[in-house]
Amino acid sequence: MKENRRDFLRKATLVAAGIGLSPTIIKASSLGRGGHIAPSDKITMILIGSGGQGRGDMMDFLRMNDVRVIAVCDVDDAQSARAKKMVDDTYGNSDCRVYKDYREILEKEDTDTALLALPDHWHAIIGCAVANKKIDIYGEKPLARTIAGGRAIVEAVKKNNLIWQMGSWQRSQANFHKGAELVYNGAIGKINYVEVGLPDGGHYVGNPPAMPVPEGLDWNMWLGPAQKVPFRGVLHFHWRWIMDYSGGQLTDWAGHHIDIAHWGLGLDRSGPVQVEGSGRSNPDGIYNVPIEYDFTCTYANGIKIRVANQSKLKTGMGTCWYGSDGWLHVDRGGKIEASNPDILNEKIGRNGKPLYKSDDHSRNFIDCVRSRKETITPADIGHRSISVGLLGEIAIITGQKLSWDPDKEVFINNDMANRLLKRPYRAPWKFPA
């Protein structure tokens, strides 16, 4: 059954190619959006991690006529109930199945795709488990909590020949695409320096007391490979401020503005050779991620990328490339500015090298699931983007100037720093083989 559906998808690609579409732009309309297609032609999808981000992402797919969400999974019954209601309300039935354990949904459901929106500390285990079931994945950024975890996902995706779309949706926004493409094509000359501003700080929670676990939440499963700690009311969204689960704003946003910086530099499949910097975490309370951070990565070609919380940078949030002929700054809210406005009117000439174009990040994933072509943000690119954030985190933890081998993905002559490429898992969870 599954093989047949995949065969069908591959044939659909040939048809699409046959009618002369550009290889990187698959028009959604040609693949049935708004058209009439039989249910069997629909791409099936499951959602694992049905919190706010997962449900928000799922909304895009619920709007697509050629996608069918069939089941949702969450360790918190309240969250999965919300997701099921969204699905059932959309389809006008009560068919959406609900699971609490990702192993069970993978065992019982036959699906083409999975949408993963989990706390970072779960990414490597579940990402690899889903990939090894040969299911295409739309995965929320960052790719993983650790560099080793990200590498494991990249290898699993490659081995199983899967489509992966990283939730780095800024790539599918016109201003970011235009900015990166101009920089990539030399509109501001030779680049020597980039500033990436990410959000300040984090949130405060102080020291909430241990409290009863809410009904319907499997707290031990939520913790999974992380250390066992009492429940202190920190759950959805706010897990991001605790190092066991995330690296804070830095690792949350690395998959956006660092990703865009790499894209414009054409370095999104490589990494720096050196990193150093500093940060401060809050002395008060259980939130312990760096809330001030400022580090610089140097690449083999000499380009430096400085990443810092926005208050430390003149340009604030976003990505600002500095070249021999000027600067160009992109940020959320459609922002694109340059040292000289004429730069923004430049066209990529006949010999220009256009960057991958997508106007709709979610649609790009589904189109690629059908076409079997690479998405705009495949797993290995997502890995390189978050790696910069994680290298910065390790530089902050160690306080050392670190030399990095981006091919082998190890620190050179620094065993201690190399220990931080991975976080040990709590039994019985094992790092994906």
């Binding site: 405060y204 250390q227 066992k228 002395p283 008060d284 001030e292 306080g399 220990r419 040990p424 709590r426």
Partner: protein, 405 residues
């Protein structure tokens, strides 16, 4: 023979120090309650900072009462103050229930101590007794009906009944805090003038100002939109049998991530002394060395001066709810001295001692295994293995062991 002696001394000395720290530190004898939970400032951070500043003296034990959030049902926020000698106010928000108000006033009347911190003097403009307890206040529609402006002009206390708003401050800046009452126990031995770290200079405070003594002032320079007069910075009030210490400094900003004004050695020292006086009528603490001068600010970024003994004591006593500064300070020392093998060995020995100490807290050991195992060496392995036999520490010990794999 000699060799053995040195070796055994190396083992014993850390234990002697640890023993001393435990046996020398008396049980804290001032039970304090800090009230927080609503404020136009970052109470989530400031309450932890104040708690640690006071507990670091060894004479206070501070509980924290956190109110419901703003606009929530306050009716269950009933506080019994009777177990406490001291109440610290870090609260500026919704009205307390009548019973809590009544209990508070009677606590002060019958001799309880109070510390009024920064924006706590903005709270409850309509609650007469509260304003008599704080002495002076500002904002929230305070005006001539709240009481006179009180300030110092030409060395004299002025009570000024003129009309106008209560409470103002210009942009934050460094300013000199000047002792006005050098004989008060809180002020004895402190520098006459010290430069405070950049902070809000509360001005135009007004209130009943009864039974009030100004201990220190600062000149509110017109250059910073100031009043051009010496505004009270530290003051005391007597209410019934109760003693109140009121400090208007130590702003913890809503958007800021750290609170430099609370790191000021002058703020910390006067808070510690003022709190003891409010609770007991005496100040037994020695004046610390290294306080700011009239031209140099001094910031204690960990809210105290850290050395190896302090770090050892704080980590050994660590529980969730205390500051993480002892761990941050140790990490900073590691980073700063990474190229100094002697110092690094000293830090390793400290960590190993605490990990092996029976008296050190388990929560402290957990953090030492989680956050410091990446820098560990082979000598930690048997220690981690021992700790993995403890059910409470097993996960962290296995984590640390795997880190070294």
């Amino acid at each position: 023979m000699k060799k053995i002696k040195i070796k055994s001394m190396q083992v014993i000395i850390p234990f002697l120090i640890a023993l001393c720290l435990f046996s020398c530190s008396k049980r804290p004898d001032i039970d304090a309650l800090l009230i927080t939970g609503q404020n136009n400032h970052k109470w989530q951070g400031s309450n932890v900072v104040i708690k640690s500043i006071l507990e670091n003296t060894g004479i206070f034990k501070v509980d924290v009462a956190q109110s419901p959030g703003q606009g929530r049902d306050m009716s269950k926020f009933i506080i019994d103050f009777s177990p406490y000698n001291l109440v610290i106010l870090d609260y500026n928000g919704d009205e307390w229930p009548d019973e809590t108000k009544k209990n508070f006033v009677s606590f002060v009347e019958t001799g309880g101590g109070v510390v009024v911190y920064h924006a706590a003097n903005n709270a409850f403009p309509g609650w007469k007794e509260y304003n008599e307890i704080t002495g002076l206040g500002g904002w929230d529609k305070r005006d001539e009906n709240s009481g006179p402006y009180v300030y110092v002009k030409d060395g004299e206390v002025v009570r000024d009944d003129s009309q106008g708003r209560g409470g103002s401050h210009g942009p934050q800046h460094e300013f000199v805090v000047e002792t006005f009452n050098p004989d008060h126990p809180i002020m004895k031995g402190l520098p006459d003038k010290w430069l405070h770290v950049k902070d809000e200079l509360y001005s135009q405070l007004r209130g009943p100002g009864k039974n009030m003594e100004i201990l220190a002032t600062a000149y509110a320079d017109e250059k910073y939109k100031g009043t051009g007069r010496n505004e009270p910075i530290l003051l005391t009030v007597r209410y019934g049998q109760g003693r109140i210490f009121h400090t208007v400094i130590g702003h913890a900003g809503g958007k800021e991530m750290f609170y430099p004004a609370m790191e000021c050695a002058g703020f910390i020292t006067t808070l510690q002394r003022g709190a003891e006086w409010a609770a007991t009528g005496k100040v037994t603490q020695k004046v610390p060395e290294g306080l700011p001068t009239d031209t140099e600010t001094v910031r204690w970024e960990y809210y105290e001066k850290m050395d190896m003994d302090i770090i050892r004591a704080r980590i050994s006593d660590y529980e969730v709810g205390k500051t993480n500064n002892c761990f941050i300070a140790l990490k900073d020392m590691f980073k700063e001295n990474i190229d100094d093998p002697e110092k690094i060995e000293e830090y390793h020995n400290l960590i190993l001692d605490i990990l092996q100490s029976r008296k050190a807290s388990k929560e402290g050991k957990k953090i030492l295994m989680k956050d410091f195992s990446w820098m560990a060496n082979e000598s930690y392995i048997p220690v981690y293995k021992d700790l993995s036999a403890d059910e409470d520490l097993k996960n962290e010990a296995l984590y640390a062991l795997e880190m070294l794999d």
